[in-house]
Amino acid sequence: MNIALTLRILGALLLFLAAALLVPLGCALICNDGTAGAFLISAVICAACGGGLFGGFRTGKDLSVREGFAIVTFGWLAFALFGALPYVIAGGIPSYVDAFFEAMSGFTTTGASILTDIEALAPSLLFWRSFTQWLGGMGIIVLSLAILPMLGVGGMQLFKAEVPGPTADRLTPRIQDTAKLLWGVYVLLTAVQTGLLMAGEMSFFDAINHSFTSMATGGFSTRNASVAAFDSAYIDWVITLFMFLAGINFTLHYLALQGRIGDFWRNEEFRFYLWLTLGATFLLTLFNAFGPYDSIVDSLRYSAFQVVSILTTTGYATADYELWAVFCQYLLVACMFIGGCAGSTGGGMKVVRVLLLFKHAHVQLYRLIHPRAVRLVKLGERPVDKEVMQSILGFFALYMGIFVAASFVMAALGMDLISAGTSVITAMGNVGPGLGTVGPIDNFAQVPVVGKLVLALCMLLGRLELYTVLVLVIPSFWRK
């Protein structure tokens, strides 16, 4: 473990964050909402720390796997720690723990908020909230790879640590080019969505904020009532569509832009994701048509929005789904576990992992009937490596283990059963709202300080898909 190199690159990442802080600074100057000073001070602190680390440690060695894990984990942690500064300095969120929770929820694209009155916040702070999600959506390391040439050497270690899905897609020989392509697609889709939302008579400010947070499957809104505040079927459907797109592997988007649209259908994970979305929407529409909504059209609109919002782990709300039938709520909780496709901006366990887990289980059953039969788990036409399968089984065990352990902590802090469980699963899956006291119309303000920190950790674990963070807890990681 090369600590000097790790610190040096962390310094570079902080310099990058300082540059990113200039964007809301610009916003503050335009809106003239009196937060410009806060952003400037934050940027200066960031730049000073970053510059100090970057300049203070010089080493010529290359990155190895271990540094990759450490840099990504601590990089995300540092982003949340420093990203919280503007909230505190501008006075929007006085408590630093709250601000840290908000920043972590932002960068990990969770969308859980401790704000009771969102609309009371200065516009440029709201913009910073959305912007953190947008940066975190495609991955800050991926972005840094695309822009910072110095990360070039050993960049693959970082890329793999941040995008640890079971299937690694590499579009170009150079990892930096892949990162650029993915970010290009991301920016393009965000721009298109902003245009479409503005066509629906949303203000430019609201449109860009919601595009940022839906492409990132984040879920921060500029309104207290979330997307429901706009009360427009057009806006609901546009956002539903783009959340759905954001939940798809971005490699497929890139290929589609190259004219290879057929690749969508050839991708088994995408097919499964599509069926999950359609199936859950169908069931919810059916149940809701007899419940809170009069017409099937309304039922479809609200059900589809909520299914896609939860399944892609965005976490917007157009309806208080706690008023829906218990069956519907349960279905949404199940969706929280699954999440989006690997390589998308969505969180959760990822569709491909769930799919492969069931395939693996099927093979185990098959083996009982035909003990001598050799049967492989396949994804599409290709067999899945045994190592990948084992890693997924381990992932599942860890995911469940952390879910149970963190729920225990939340319960010990005095939360009720439903709130304790769903607050953890919503944080791990980077969804946003849960059920009970952390439901879609509530917020996380009343969660005790320890609980907020635990949830923030869960968000980080979920965003980096467990292994990257947990490997740091293994003692031998730190030994030579």
Partner: protein
């Protein structure tokens, strides 16, 4: 004709044997000294030791004088390079054995046209396809297709229960009004004859018929072979997960068989499982009959053994037959063992060399031979021949043509129709004629159509 054969493996050896029998001057080139020695002792050909991909060795083997080259080593690259070299030396006919789909597929980047190869053969794939045909065709032990599959050349074994048992050809001819086919040959005790009116069909005979594919159902009915009504759920076992086994499994999957492939090497099992979709891959020895019975070999429709080892194939086929498998088939390389098949009760024995030979031999024939199939255990052939423009044979009744003895015209395919030949049939320009010929008549048939 001067022919250079590269590679003294199973295919090369068999080609040399056949070609030198037919009076061609054959030179065999191989890099393995042991095989060179063995071939020198057993074959009536000139054997040269050397690398087929080297110009120097090719010159030593007399490539400058050769009229044809047949590169049939195990390696695609060597075969292709040998043909490229041969092109530079001006060899007229170039044939290569190529396994890789990269060269064989339709849209290949390096197609045979670009490589200047007249014919690419792939005996393994060909034999797998033949086995799949046989598996799908109840009761047959030999199948060859002509004229794009319109005319089928089928071999049947006559059992005690067979309705043809004891019938003379004349009697058979009387019911032929209803059943349109020609009995082209009968093989009895290893001897193949072209039957005449008085010859009777006996138990233990193998008969070969030409028939149009639309007539097959009624022929199956005549022979009391129950056409499988249920096309789904027929179960096939394949022993051996080599190249042939995998292709066969894929082929049978397409014919909606429930395929189970048995392979003894675990690593290979996994590779096979990765390549195949629906096939169940079973990790077991072929002789591990307990496992096979557990997986349902006893009421399987067909068991096909295609491992590299002839003895394993024959033994396992017999074992499965003993336990009740409906039909068994086996891949057999050694010609000596090939003749055993009928007496052992294996329904069909197929050799990759025969299918390779069929494809290659037409290239050394004179006349307009379009395709050709060789018959198991004998050197007789079924030939598809084009009637050339301006041929003197056109528009005369067949009985006036003085057709060579030892050969028979089975069917005539016109542009849009076909007929089963009799004395009054007339040939037209551009017709394709299906002929069965005994070895001694082959040359005469070629000259007849020239």
């Amino acid at each position: 004709m001067k022919i250079l054969v590269v590679g003294a493996g199973q295919v090369g050896y068999f080609l040399c044997e056949r070609l030198s029998l037919e009076g061609h001057e054959v030179t065999l080139l191989d890099r393995d000294p042991a095989r060179v020695h063995a071939s020198q002792d057993q074959l009536n050909v000139l054997v040269v030791e050397g690398n087929g991909a080297s110009a120097e060795c090719m010159e030593r083997a007399g490539i400058k004088q050769a009229d044809a080259i047949m590169a049939v080593t195990d390696q695609d690259e060597v075969n292709i390079l040998a043909c490229l070299l041969a092109r530079e030396y001006g060899v007229a006919k170039r044939i290569a054995r190529v396994k890789s789909i990269e060269y064989l597929s339709r849209g290949a980047v390096l197609s045979k046209e670009k490589l200047g190869i007249d014919l690419m053969i792939n005996p393994e794939d060909a034999v797998a396809d033949e086995l799949a045909n046989l598996a799908g065709r109840e009761g047959t032990f030999d199948v060859a297709e002509f004229a794009e599959g319109q005319i089928q050349f089928l071999g049947y074994r006559i059992t005690k229960e067979s309705p043809l048992n004891g019938l003379s050809l004349r009697e058979l001819g009387e019911i032929r009004g209803m059943y349109r086919f020609v009995v082209a040959a009968v093989t009895r005790h290893g001897q193949t004859i072209i039957p005449r009116g008085d010859d009777t069909i006996q138990v233990g005979d193998s008969i070969f018929i030409f028939a149009h594919k639309t007539d097959l159902p009624s022929i199956q009915y005549l022979l009391h072979i129950e056409e499988e009504t249920k096309h789904k759920g027929r179960r096939a076992f394949i022993l051996g997960g080599g190249r042939i086994g995998v292709r066969l499994a894929r082929n049978l999957e397409q014919r909606r068989f429930d395929v189970r492939l048995v392979e003894h090497n675990l690593e290979r099992c996994e590779q096979v499982s990765a390549q195949l979709g629906k096939t169940m891959v079973i990790h077991a020895e072929g002789t591990d009959i307990r496992t096979l019975l557990d997986e349902g070999v006893a009421d399987a429709d067909v068991f096909i053994a295609v491992t590299d080892d002839d003895r394993t194939n024959i033994l396992c086929s017999l074992l499965c037959r003993h336990h009740g498998t409906h039909r068994t088939m086996s891949l057999v390389n050694l010609p000596e063992l090939l003749e055993l098949a009928p007496s052992l009760g294996i329904d069909a024995c197929v050799s990759p060399r025969l299918s390779a030979a069929g494809a290659i031999l037409k290239y050394v024939r004179r006349g307009q031979v379009l395709s050709l199939a060789t018959i198991e255990g004998s050197n007789s052939e079924a030939l598809e021949i084009l009637v050339k423009k301006g041929s003197s044979l056109v528009d005369k009744p067949l009985r006036d043509l003085n057709f060579p003895a030892g050969a028979i015209i089975g069917a005539i395919v016109h542009k849009n129709s076909y007929e089963i030949a009799d004395g009054d049939s007339r040939l037209r320009e551009g017709d394709r004629v299906l002929v069965f010929a005994l070895p001694e008549a082959l040359g005469k048939v070629e000259r007849f159509f020239e």
